[in-house]
Amino acid sequence: MTMLIFEHSRTGRAATAQSPFEAADCSDLPADQLRSDAPGLPEVSELQAVRHYTRLSKKNFSIDTHFYPLGSCTMKYNPRACNTYAMLPGLLARHPLGPVSAGQGFMACMYELQEMLKEVTGMQSVSLTPAAGAQGEFAGVAMIRAYHDARNDTARTEILVPDAAHGTNPATATMCGYEVREIPTDKQGDVDLEALKAAVGPQTAGIMLTNPSTLGVFERRIKEIAGIVHEAGGLLYYDGANLNAILGKVRPGDMGFDVIHMNLHKTFSTPHGGGGPGAGPVGVSKRLEPFLPVPMVGYDGDEYHWITEKEKPQSIGRLSAFMGNAGVLLRAYIYARLLGREGMHRVAEYATLNANYLMAKLRDAGFDLAFPNRRATHEFIVTLKKVEKECGTSAMDFAKRLLDFGYHAPTTYFPLLVPECLLIEPTETEAKEDLDGFIEAMTKILEEARTTPEVLKEAPHTQPVRRLDDVRAARELDLAWKAPAA
């Protein structure tokens, strides 16, 4: 196991070349704010620091090095060009408080991104400002609330969420002050319409749906669902998590949705997660337009300008200091421009083709599918329930063993509805040979489960750390390194 940088520390060792020339003047700080002992920083040589972090960087697992079929996360390749063009000096050096006249190029990009996202989702209007998917969801449901409030329709206290939904959906509804009511799914993976009819009423504020759903299938009766919810006076919220499957093919606006958030890091190839900067634009139907978060970018045919609270007095307001994360939005804009209209269609086509190829081949190799009668969208679910019963090897064991073959594990134990499941999403950016390599590894592991199950149960065998005791780690949470007693 790699040592921590603190464990390399020896008193008095330092990289003097990195030291400041003169000590900072702290004489103007209040005495009670000054520390009395030295900070507990690691004391290492420059070479030790370089080696330590270089070694760590070589342990990275990323889409640049390995296949990453993490279902519901759309781990596609981010073209280098997006990064290069987003870092053009004129874009990089633009100050958000600079005059509008000096930022017309940037604002043109943002205006066009708004227009392109409108077009591809079929919504009436788009605001780019939410700084992450979670904030986009929050903004979406906050707009639903603002809409009902503006009509003095305040008895609506419930948001409906199908049981296959992303965990963030009930969390968002709760954050916006709504009660969550769960709607069951039928055996084919569609929303149970009878249960939905029974659940809607004057208390219904809206429903939150992902389509295709987290079960990896397209919600076929979406028009009926929209009819039932609208009839009851509720609105439809679209979680953009799985937009990659339908990009340019089917539009949430045409399905009857009133509000949608988009995860640009999934569908539009901006960097993923790790708590870094994100982007979760929201699109709305006509009746929600007045409530969009600001700022947005407007265009009068001559110049681009900011649209603020002044033009949109009913806006739910600002979500961050400026208009979200400019650098992330630029990468999405460039990605969309690189694809063009034709390319956007091909994203959905190849994402779906790759998923269905992988699904058919894994079924032929002896894996059980959670929904064998349904065509996959961009992802699909394998259930290892039978293997678990027969060989005692769980979905977790398969996931850990895949690491030994150089593959990131698919999503495991999600959605919760399917026992011992793997949710697999190859994305459109993988070549057939790479999919075949994964199929080969999965086939080999299934064989091992039957002949040498202990190899799976003890996996991974080749990684820097072996199987972690996740129960103990959760029960006895210990995140800070403490120096051993001298």
Binding site: Y413, L416, P419, V471, A474, R475
Partner: protein
């Protein structure tokens, strides 16, 4: 096969209810439920005095796999939440019908548990879910 004691009542969401004979009931999750959820790492039991409707979320059990709501099988006021689970969530795995109990309720209606499943019906229900 999971353990399904004959003297308890059961719900479709896998809670058990023990009628204590004095107008109170003890509630927990079944052996089948704990087996499906896996090792518990955190349990949030309700505070005494809370008034519950039947079917209302009243506790949270969090395992290495998932965090799940526990629903009140019957209406009533919470007399006590099992405070011991804060330090020993594994009791829900090791002893789901004993030290792993979640809450005690003063029943709003003595006949409230009549509509729940008995052990035979619950066993059949679990078998039907396990298709």
């Amino acid at each position: 096969m999971s353990n399904i004691p004959a003297d308890l009542k059961y719900t479709k969401s896998h809670e058990w209810v023990k009628l204590n004979g004095d107008g109170t009931a003890t509630v927990g999750i079944t052996d089948h439920a704990q087996d499906q959820l896996g090792d518990m790492v955190y349990v949030e039991a309700p505070d005494a005095g809370r008034s519950l409707k039947a079917g209302e979320a009243c506790a949270v059990v969090e395992s290495v796999k998932a965090a799940s709501d526990v629903y009140a099988p019957v209406a009533g006021d919470v007399i006590e939440g099992n405070a011991g689970l804060a330090d020993a969530p594994e009791s829900v795995n090791n002893d789901p019908y004993g030290s792993g109990w979640l809450l005690k309720i003063k029943l709003a209606d003595a006949a409230a548990a009549d509509g729940l499943m008995d052990a035979t019906a619950y066993e059949a229900f679990v078998a039907s879910e396990d298709h």
